[in-house]
């Protein structure tokens, strides 16, 4: 597998353009081409789980001059999230996107986004990371506005401006780092930064990175683009944005840079914990008041990313016992994986309801479990997951984060996390009350379940919610454990330089 590692970016990039060319001749093959690309990527990503950590030198150029690709526990988990959720969204799109025109263009943008995200998580080079970040971001700006309606374009524009500011901040930060260390290679940076130590410039770089990647991760107060952008995109894209993009571009980048390059630090730790707690609270309060199904889900993404951010923050703290820091980090990463599963499921459900009822306003729906049993059941399972109800997956990760915080002595954060879990539950109970249960409105008396291509991803994701929850101690532990160890083991990351 090691020799094929660059294919994670090469396949989607190539297929994005092949797809455009081929569909000039024959439009019907576009579904097939996209499926081919995503299926091969997803199966490769799953196979990567069995590889031990390694690094790959692009073009045979030795680091720190050449570009390094790094595969370790964290990047393999990210690759699985990106490509498996990507495959499911793509399958869903085959039917869902028939309501839009220009399906081939959609797939092209979709594959570009995948290429960008895969690039971000496998690269070991700062500038390379920035380039892939921009590829994914620009593709996502276009995808948010894909419907070309007034609201969608407005959302896309806001997202573009705020995202652009964030990208600039990141680029600025990279430039600062380069001027101080003379290298862009990430393992190399991990060696050189401690030699320089803390100074004003390094503090500014940190601030730029936290703001830049924090905006991509939709952390409060940089979250304002998300509640507009995520609901406006077509449903499979919303699922990708909320389920994957904010993690790959935001959380992953923060985790990689803060843990592996800068190393643990009290101040950064408290900032991340504070931002996380703030996002968690603000997001959930805004979500409770929402009528728009997808908008509500978008606010919950902010709130749930808060949990992940908090977990990362405590993991960075050098003053708590290492076991607790590791526990918090584990909880954060686990929650990230779980969130990818249930949030993409929820967005796809929202899309399925919209596909049949034509509305996103949840108060207009009702009793849909009688007409759309599969969509409703999966929506209900995913809702319980995000609410943190056992035996579904969200419960365990939230529990771990809460336990870690309480045991580490951050009682207020722990209680806030419990409160937010409760608020999340209220909001999703309201959702189920409005959409799934209750009285079926007259106008929806004749609607049917969505087509098989849309049901299949929903059922797979809902099954995952339950399976991860029930078999958590058996299966999932090793995966996330490896990701956690990769982050905590800075020496291993530096060693990629030599291999």
């Amino acid at each position: 597998m090691q020799a094929y590692f660059p294919l994670f970016t090469a396949i989607p990039l190539a297929m994005a353009f092949i797809n455009l060319l081929v569909t000039k001749v024959n439009k019907k093959v576009t579904d097939f081409l996209a499926f081919l690309a995503m299926a091969s990527l997803a199966s490769m990503a799953v196979m990567m789980l069995f590889e031990s950590p390694f690094s790959y030198q692009v073009g045979g150029w030795a680091p720190p001059i050449g570009i390094l690709l790094v595969s370790d526990g964290l990047s393999s988990v990210m690759l699985v999230i990106i490509n498996v959720i990507g495959l499911l969204s793509m399958i869903y799109s085959t039917k869902y996107m028939t309501t839009y025109t220009a399906k081939p263009k959609f797939y092209t943008l979709f594959l570009l986004m995948i290429a960008g995200m895969n690039g971000v998580v496998i690269t070991g080079d700062m500038f390379n990371l920035y380039v892939f970040l921009e590829i994914a971001s620009i593709a996502s700006y276009a995808l948010v506005g894909f419907g070309c309606e007034k609201d969608e374009l407005e959302a896309s524009f806001k997202y573009l401006i705020l995202g652009g500011v964030a990208s600039t901040a990141v680029l600025f930060g990279i430039a600062f780092l380069y001027s101080m260390t003379g290298t862009l290679n990430m393992p190399d940076l991990a060696v050189k930064i401690p030699e320089i130590g803390h100074n004003h410039a390094m503090g500014f770089v940190m601030a730029l990175f936290i703001m830049g990647f924090g905006l991509k991760a939709s952390s409060v107060p940089f979250h304002a683009w998300l509640p507009d952008a995520h609901p406006s995109a077509p449903a499979p894209i919303s699922a990708m944005l909320s389920g994957v993009l904010i993690k790959a571009l935001g959380i992953y980048a923060i985790a990689r840079i803060m843990f592996n390059i800068f190393g643990s630090d009290t101040m950064v730790s408290s900032i991340l914990m504070f931002l996380g707690a703030l996002s968690m609270l603000v997001g959930v309060f805004l979500a409770v008041g929402q009528h728009d199904f997808k908008r509500m889900l978008a606010y919950h993404s902010i709130s749930q990313m808060g949990y992940v951010m908090m977990g990362l923050g405590l993991g960075l703290n050098p003053n708590v016992p290492p076991a607790l820091a590791a526990l918090a980090l584990f909880g954060g990463l686990f929650h990230m994986v779980n969130h990818a599963v249930f949030k993409s499921c929820l967005f796809l459900c929202a899309g399925a309801f919209e596909y049949r009822t034509g509305t996103k306003d949840k108060t207009e729906m009702g009793g849909l479990i009688r007409r759309m049993p599969f969509t409703s059941a999966t929506c209900s399972i995913a809702s319980l997951s995000i609410s943190g109800v056992p035996p579904f997956n969200g419960f365990w990760s939230k529990l771990i984060i809460i336990v870690a915080f309480m045991k580490a002595g951050y009682t207020v954060y722990g209680i806030l996390a419990i409160l937010v879990a409760f608020m999340t539950m209220i909001s999703f109970i309201r959702l189920q009350m409005n959409v799934i249960f209750g009285k079926l409105p007259e106008k929806f008396a004749k609607i049917k379940e969505v087509p098989f291509a849309m049901v299949l991803p929903l059922v797979i994701l809902a099954t995952l919610c339950l399976a991860i929850g029930v078999f958590y101690p058996l299966v999932d532990q090793n995966l996330i454990e490896a990701a956690k160890d990769a982050l905590l083991d800075k020496a291993q990351y530096i060693s990629f330089l030599g291999r």
């Binding site: 806001k158 705020l162 964030a166 901040a169 503090g203 500014f204 940190m206 601030a207 730029l208 924090g214 905006l215 107060p221 940089f222 304002a224 683009w225 509640p227 101040m267 950064v268 900032i271 603000v282 309060f285 805004l286 409770v288 008041g289 076991a323 607790l324 590791a326 526990l327 584990f330 909880g331 686990f334 009702g366 319980l384 109800v389 056992p390 419960f395 529990l399 809460i402 336990v403 870690a404 309480m406 045991k407 722990g414 419990i418 409160l419 879990a421 409760f422 608020m423 539950m425 209220i426 109970i429 189920q432 009350m433 409005n434 249960f437 209750g438 009285k439 958590y472 532990q477 454990e481």
Partner: protein, 625 residues
């Protein structure tokens, strides 16, 4: 495989089978579930005889850092609760065979019932507070789906239930983690070996958090309001199973666990007083609300709350007799209250309504339902020799022993009001004149009669032979608590000169009844004492309908003619002004409004947040690092 895990797995797997059965053949699902439930009942009987069993695997290892065992342990207390859980499982599934006939989604209904059994078994067998909480929350989630299978208005009721129980589950989680961080263990048997004395703020908070969880499940005030909300829309069998019996058993089981094993509560101390006050308030306010209800299921649900008060009062007092009474009342309540709800379900099934105003005169048409409901109603009202009396009597004795005269008076008063309320119920449904539309009503089928009859027999049996369940189920638990003396229990056994000797008293009462019947029968021999004629006023023969006396007006004076403060409180109470659910809902709305007003949708606002955020971050990281 381990016996304890076996029960949970049997129930969980049996819950999957109904999903595989075709929709039309829901009866097959019902029968397989019934077989599984009987099997579980037999298993739990074996376990009950087997005594204490423990089993654990270090299955969970939270994040690879904190060991956390999947530990099960069956103690004497939990095995007898498990016995009753599985018994009610059998009865309710048997009843459902008839009740659910012709209702939609019947297959998945049986799945939910079986999973409920699995989770409830998990709760009582868990030896780790977190495992207990996991099963506890699974129960909440299943209850949510079961309510959502109900009729008109079910979705709001289900949402309210899940919100309240979800909140209390969250407080329980907080309590558990507080114990964990303070004492380093959440294993129940380890905690029980060295009970926590709630003296520091942290331990008191932990106790209150867990206490809230227990009484919310059981339905004590102020977390009671979900039960009346779900009473009307939900299937009667579901209410009979969960809020009326299983949730009571589990809630009070947890309360017992807290007060008898995990925490060392000082009798007469502040926490004990708090629990007793909660208990007494629950008894009185809920029964007052029950008096004025017009819907049978809703009325019964208020009684289900009120009776929890006796259990909390008894268990919370810390006095051995009262604890025994409280725990015995838990069992008795589960028995008679499920019987009452099953009766309500039978009436609903046959007449299509549970509105007391519309019902009447069904005694002749539904004799089995009538008689079983009389017995269960007498039980709940604490009429000797039925089981409710014995347990209440023990609670009263405990109050006497502790010299809590006010609580004693309030408890007895509550019992009297319960009696008054059930006179209204029995009159409204079974006596009085029958509306003509119900002339065709028949008795329910045998599969629905059987559970009701069985429950009625249990009511009588546990009343007359109260010493048997007390000796076998209750006293081992209470005396097992160690520090508490076991003196004073002889009062219910016949060997000593007790205050109450059920068997001889029953014999006397039966003799009295027989004499009464003989006199009545002699009267019948001579001539028919009763004449039926249409009422005649001023030359007009009045229709039957106009001469009906519906029982719903029996206690209108309670709301109308008492002083204005009480009346006002009643109206506010009806509207839900005292409902914590509504109060917190309004508070939350304020925060939401504020946050929404900040998100004005203008790009420059958002951009300025980002830039200001960057500025603050830069300042902190550059100059405060």
């Amino acid at each position: 495989m381990n016996d304890l895990l076996y029960i949970i797995i049997v129930a969980a797997v049996a819950g999957i089978i109904p999903l595989l059965v075709p929709r039309k053949a829901s009866i097959v699902a019902g029968v397989t579930s019934l077989i599984a439930a009987v099997w579980i009942f037999i298993l739990s009987m074996q376990l009950f005889r087997a005594g204490e069993i423990a089993w654990s695997v270090p299955l969970f290892n939270l994040g690879g850092e904190i060991p956390f065992e999947f530990a099960l342990r069956l103690t004497g207390f939990s095995s007898f609760v498990l016995l009753f859980i599985s018994l009610f499982g059998v009865l309710i599934i048997l009843y459902s065979l008839g009740y659910m006939k012709g209702k939609g989604q019947a297959s998945i209904y049986y799945s939910y019932l079986m999973w409920t059994l699995a989770a409830a078994a998990g709760v009582v067998m868990a030896d780790n507070l977190l495992i207990l909480l996991v099963f506890w929350e699974i129960l909440t989630a299943i209850l949510f789906f079961l309510i959502n299978m109900g009729g008109e208005g079910h979705e709001k009721a289900a949402a309210k239930t899940f919100t309240i129980l979800g909140f209390t589950d969250a407080t329980m989680l907080l309590g558990i983690i507080l114990i964990w961080t303070t004492f380093g263990t959440i294993s129940i048997s380890e905690l029980a070996a060295n009970p926590i004395v709630p003296s520091s703020p942290v331990t008191i908070t932990a106790f209150i958090c867990l206490f809230i969880g227990a009484i919310a499940k059981a339905g004590g005030m102020p977390f009671h309001s979900w039960i009346p909300a779900i009473a009307k829309p939900t299937h009667a069998s579901v209410i009979a199973f969960l809020p009326a019996s299983l949730d009571k058993l589990l809630g009070i089981y947890l309360l017992g666990l807290l007060t008898l094993r995990i925490f060392a509560i000082e009798p007469g101390g502040a926490l004990s007083m708090m629990m007793m006050i909660v208990g007494v308030c629950t008894i009185i306010f809920a029964v007052l609300m029950a008096l004025v209800q017009h819907n049978l299921k809703k009325l019964l649900s208020f009684h289900a709350i009120s009776q929890v008060g006796y259990m909390v009062l008894g268990v919370g007092s810390g006095i051995p007799v009262a604890i025994a009474g409280g725990l015995f009342h838990m069992v008795n309540h589960a028995i008679y209250k499920s019987g009452l709800f099953l009766g309500a379900g039978a009436v609903e099934k046959m007449t299509g309504t549970t509105e007391l105003e519309d019902l009447g005169g069904l005694a002749k048409l539904m004799p089995v339902t009538f008689i079983t409901m009389i017995i269960t109603a007498f039980s709940i009202s604490g009429v000797p020799p039925f089981n409710g009396f014995v347990s209440k009597w023990l609670v009263y004795q405990g109050m006497l022993e502790g010299k809590y005269m006010i609580f004693l008076i309030a408890a007895i008063f509550g019992s009297a009001l319960t009696m008054a309320s059930f006179i209204k119920v029995l009159h409204s449904i079974f006596l009085g004149r029958r509306p003509e539309k119900f002339d065709g009503v028949r008795e329910v089928g045998f599969s629905m009669q059987l559970p009701m009859i069985f429950i009625a027999i249990l009511c009588i049996g546990f009343g007359i032979f109260a010493s048997y369940p007390l000796q076998n189920f209750i006293l081992p638990v209470v005396s097992g608590a160690g520090a508490i003396s076991t003196s004073g229990f002889e009062v219910v056994t016949e060997s000593t000169n007790g205050f109450w000797s059920p068997v001889s008293a029953t014999i006397l009462m039966v003799v009295g009844l027989v004499v009464g019947i003989i006199i009545f029968a002699f009267g019948r021999i001579k001539k028919n004492l009763r004449y039926d004629d249409n009422p005649w006023i001023g030359g007009n023969i009045l229709e039957n309908e106009e001469m009906r006396i519906p029982g719903t007006h029996f206690y209108k004076t309670v709301t109308d003619e008492l002083n204005p403060i009480v009346t006002g409180a009643f109206h506010d109470g009806e509207k839900g002004a005292f409902d914590l659910f509504n109060i917190f809902g309004r508070l939350g709305d304020l925060v939401v409004q504020f946050l929404r007003s900040m998100h004005d949708g203008i790009l420059s606002t958002y951009l300025s947040w980002a830039v200001i955020g960057l500025g603050v971050l830069a300042f902190i990281l550059m100059f405060r690092w």
